[in-house]
């Protein structure tokens, strides 16, 4: 006999489900496959630990890439006497690399008040340690470089002091460009040298992708800020072309089960959407002269694919079959 009370309804539902599907799933119930569990590994438990990183880290990858490569563009602009572009690029480098990146990196720590412990030791075998030093060195070059450049262009000080400022600006800005290229690329090493299968199998691709996405993003931001010059357009073409090539590389260099997180699941879609936006789509838009649209497409693609790679790490690290397959590989 049935009644309309919720508890009786629930029992009816369970009976329906049991009848239709042959099994009622629930926490603490594991009858699929009979008495011997058939999940991969040990009850399907992860073999390595997926990353604990949250949204701050991909955002840091994004802004760190922009910052580092802005300093490179600023140096190029300075050499070829585009002082206004150099100033704008250094502002971009100082704000995203000197302020935003450290804030994001510190926010991601489990114990943010101990962030200075990063500089207790220098370990060249730890990409995280190298990254902390690279970011510090970049900030220590980009911020004084920007200040010196601004003081020099506004002719605040007279005579010899101004000449010294000019020299300091050049030195610091070139220094920030060197550390900038490392800031934009080391993040690929950081996740490439881990035990996560989908990451370490693509450790050669990752620094190229992160560095080039950083260069294209820096050029795109400067273009959106109004610098519609041929040099930045060329960099936009270059970055989009490299990213298109990487998209092809990723779809050819497949490792089956070991890196399936890149090609399946939501994480795979993030990678695909990101790579199409900052690869072929940005290239086509730029080809037809739609520079602002190409810049926006590239920026969104660069951001989405950074989130995609962290999502890939979480999926791949939780997948015992990927770990086994990568080790047998």
């Amino acid at each position: 006999m049935t009644t309309n009370s919720p508890s009786e309804k629930r029992l009816e539902e369970l009976r329906e489900q049991a009848w239709k599907e042959g099994v009622v799933a629930g926490r603490g119930v594991d009858v699929a496959g009979g008495p011997i569990p058939s999940k991969p590994g040990y009850y399907g438990q992860p073999v390595v630990k997926p990353p604990v990183w949250t949204w701050e880290v991909p955002l840091y990858f994004f802004f760190g890439g922009i910052a580092g490569m802005s300093a490179v563009i600023a140096s190029g602009a300075l050499i070829f006497h585009h002082v206004d572009l150099a100033r704008e690029a250094m502002w971009l480098a100082a704000i995203s690399g000197g302020i935003l990146s450290p804030i994001l990196l510190i926010m991601d720590l489990g114990r943010p008040h101990l962030f200075l412990n990063m500089l207790r030791v220098f370990k060249h075998r730890s990409a995280m340690s190298m990254g902390a030093w690279i970011l510090s060195a970049f900030g220590a070059c980009a911020v004084p470089g920007l200040i010196a450049l601004e003081l020099h262009t506004h002719q605040i000080f007279p005579g010899t002091l101004d000449q010294l400022l000019r020299l300091a600006a050049g030195t610091f800005i070139f220094g920030s460009a060197i550390f900038g290229t490392l800031l934009a690329t080391y993040t690929g090493v950081l996740i490439g040298a881990t035990t996560i299968p989908a990451w370490f199998l693509h450790r050669t691709l990752l620094p190229i992708h992160f560095g080039t996405a950083g260069l294209g993003s820096a050029a795109a931001v400067l273009e959106l800020l109004g610098y519609r010059i041929a040099a930045l357009n060329f960099l936009g073409f270059y970055a989009a072309a490299v990213e298109s090539a990487l998209l092809i590389w990723l779809s050819v260099d497949k490792h089956g089960v070991a890196d399936r997180a890149i090609h399946e699941h939501g994480s795979g879609w993030l990678i695909r959407i990101g790579e199409v936006l900052n690869g072929p789509l940005a290239l086509i838009l730029r080809f037809f002269g739609l520079v602002p649209l190409a810049a926006i497409s590239f920026l969104i693609g660069a951001l989405v694919s950074r989130f995609g790679w962290i999502a890939v790490g979480k999926v791949s690290g939780s997948d015992p079959e990927s770990v086994f397959a990568a080790e047998r590989y």
Binding site: I36, K49, F80, R111, S126, M128, T204, P207, I208
Partner: protein, 286 residues
């Protein structure tokens, strides 16, 4: 008295830390009874917080896996294989073969430790006895050790648990060892499935035990100690029945620093390519 009693290295006082002797754990599932005394002793001695109570449905294992608040974990494997030459009762003659294997998992204290290499604060160190120790007052919780451990042992403890935000794992009871005491899990193990002692002694003991078991019909008994890979051996090694995969153990664990060379090469090449592209852009399109 149980096992070798007071003669056992599990019950004697020692001075391994002072003498700088390499020590280890040898964990043998063929004598484990699945009592979980090691899990309880570890939690109690080290005051590790609970990490939630839930039913997993996975045999008698409701612990799940090693993590920031689980430093010993007893695994319960259900396998459709016979257990050696054991004589089954008349009831089981016409049934499918079945065996129930228990193994107490723990941090492996690698010879080449991924977590130790990855740590950017110098919080993770190697002790006098060869174990790997996290100094928790130094750890700032960057989480890089978590993705650098080939065994998925170390993890960052989530809020709101006590001391959250830092990375935690088995300490090899370094505090106890300094006072000449045996690690808590080995001390309580009633069948000496967990044996604590000098690493070279334990390796000999492990090899002997494998031989013994194979003679008794456990054809798939083997030692799990990846000395052939870049991890170069582990201080807490295991005897396993069957394949390592079934225990969630990686068959060929590698320390991730071996990937650094190719990754940095790619990074430097990208750095140079970006500089050249920028210079070309300004040189030809100004």
């Amino acid at each position: 008295m149980i096992g070798e009693g007071l003669q056992s290295t599990n019950q004697r006082k020692h001075s391994f830390v002072q003498d700088r002797v390499e020590v280890g754990f040898f964990t043998d599932p063929s004598v484990c009874i699945g009592c979980k005394a090691c899990e309880v002793a570890c939690k109690e001695w080290n005051q590790v917080p609970d990490d939630g109570f839930m039913w997993s449905g996975n045999s008698y294992d409701n612990t799940g896996h090693l993590g920031a608040s689980t430093w010993r974990h007893v695994m319960f494997l259900e396998q459709d294989r016979a257990k050696g030459n054991q004589i089954a009762g008349p009831m089981s003659l016409d049934q499918d073969p079945f065996r129930w294997v228990f193994l107490s998992d723990v941090c492996k204290h690698c010879e080449e430790a991924g977590c130790l290499e990855a740590c950017p604060t110098g919080s993770i160190v190697r002790t006098e006895v060869g174990s790997v120790l996290v100094q928790n007052d130094v750890c700032n919780g960057c989480g890089y050790c978590v993705v650098s451990c080939p065994f998925g042992v170390i993890d960052r403890r989530p809020a709101p648990l006590p001391d959250s935000g830092g990375a935690f794992k088995c300490t090899f009871c370094y505090d106890r060892q300094k006072s000449g005491l045996v690690p808590a899990c080995a001390k309580v193990c009633p069948t000496e499935s967990i044996v604590f002692g000098r690493l070279d002694d334990l390796r000999a003991r492990g090899a002997e035990r494998v031989q013994q078991l194979q003679q008794s019909g456990y054809n798939d008994a083997q030692l799990y100690d990846p000395t052939e890979t870049s991890v170069r051996g582990i201080h807490a090694f295991f005897l396993i029945l069957g394949e390592p995969e079934a225990y969630g153990l990686p068959p060929k664990p590698q320390i991730p620093t071996i990937y650094l060379k190719s990754a940095w090469t790619s990074a430097f090449a990208t750095a140079i390519a970006s500089i050249i592209a920028t210079l070309l852009a300004f040189a030809f399109f100004s």
